[in-house]
Symmetry: C2
Subunit: 268 residues, 2 copies
């Protein structure tokens, strides 16, 4: 059985320059593409994760939630960051229902616990149960409780990467991880897309990307590539693709060379 994990990037589904502004047309296009895919491939299992884009990063920066909380204001901030992220998740869910996709929003705050920002435990039961009855879990970057610093933020990328590893370890599925964004793929210093990232050019790619993006509280492209590289090293194909080209996500889901970057850590 095939299980495809799809990240809908925050930059793709929101206007990152305008706080709390979704890109509705983009979401509708993605929903109708996924709906068609599902109708034509009834056996296909999907997990979707949406980035927070301009819904989550403002409040997350304001309260510096990624670094935990001590004061009452920071605690309330933690709750508000969750709400901001949840609001976008709900909006995505509504658009997907209109396309007849039975998505169920499942917030990581209720499933994952960290220890000084490292994942300690994730309860995957609700995700597993969704898949077993052919519902589509819709996760998102969320606040989570942390045993040391009270709370932190777990990005959609990190959560999806953990899901990919978990389901890989079960051995039941052929897995593919796809991140669709408002970009052509992973870019070199001249703005050219790396078509593949393998052992041969991985250090070159890391140099091109530099350190994690400070504007994005959850790390940006450099961290995404690192996390996907780890997933890919298990033998799982990971794609970072252009989500703006109609049909490109479909190609990626079906394994048909989409426009973007393929990460294949097991290849030279």
């Amino acid at each position: 059985m095939e299980l495809v994990l799809i990240k809908l990037g925050g930059s793709l589904i929101t206007d990152k320059n305008k706080p709390y502004t979704p890109r509705i047309t983009s979401l509708q296009q993605l929903a109708s593409e996924i709906s068609l895919l599902r109708n034509q491939n009834p056996q296909l299992k999907l997990i979707i994760g949406n980035g927070a884009g301009s819904f989550g990063h403002q409040s997350a920066k304001k309260y510096n939630t990624v670094d935990g909380f001590i004061t009452d204001a920071e605690k309330l901030g933690f709750c508000l960051v969750h709400q901001d992220a949840l609001n976008l998740n709900i909006l995505v869910a509504k658009i997907f229902w209109q396309a007849n996709l039975p998505v169920i929003g499942l917030p990581p705050v209720a499933m994952a616990v960290t220890h000084n920002k490292k994942i300690l435990k994730i309860d995957f039961s609700s995700i597993e149960n969704s898949l077993s009855v052919n519902l589509i879990p819709l996760v998102f970057g969320d606040v989570v409780f942390d045993r040391v610093i009270g709370g932190t933020i777990l990005s959609t990328d990190t959560f999806l990467a953990e899901l990919a590893k978990h389901f890989y370890s079960q051995g039941k599925y052929k897995i593919r991880l796809i991140s669709a964004g408002n970009y052509p793929g992973v870019l070199d210093r001249n703005g050219q897309v790396f078509s593949t990232i393998t052992k041969n050019n991985y250090s070159l790619v890391k140099t091109a990307l530099g350190p994690s993006d400070a504007v994005d509280v959850t790390g940006g492209m450099a961290k995404k590539v690192e996390e996907f590289w780890t997933v890919s090293s298990l033998g799982i194909d990971c794609w970072i693709i252009n989500g703006n080209i109609p049909g490109n996500l479909t190609k990626a889901v079906l394994g048909k060379s989409p426009a973007g970057t393929l990460i294949k850590a097991t290849a030279n």
Copy 2:
């Protein structure tokens, strides 16, 4: 340490006769009461659960979600019932934040799994972690996945009763369970309040209440009394109180004879 679990009844916080209509003033009154209580008793641990009232029961009946799902329409219905319940939970959270209460919405769908409507497993980690950092978990009656019938509905009462039993078993807390509703308490056939329910009058009470209320998909007063009776048999005081009287919830939380019914299964 004291842990008080508070149910805010659907009839108290919504207008049961008007679909999707919250009782805002009532919610604000409850929020300001709980906020004051918390300021004056900083050691007090709280878990709050809100009923679905006129937000959840319409769609739940339409799709008969309590009995599971088979068709695509029923699956989408399961998702919509969750959304309806979530919408009210979010509204409650917003009003509570305005009263400086750091509540975090935690949906049972991500924590609990049932087997033919019986609870199979609940992951309590996020609730425990909320309490340990002095945040207030705000749960609600929600859809949950079911290993036999796909999905079902877990009422706020049932979920809170399970939480009470779980935290009781840890032996860390003195626990009290309070249900605040739009009623004076548990009524006999003449509309008089049972001030206490003990071993002596339990069968009389059950006769007075009759079978579970068919209008309420999650069972109504008869089921509430049954579930609280089980919790009470552990030695936990359970109250079913009038939530409309200002100050009454405060009395119940502080153990000071509120207007309503005390369930005490260990007493004659």
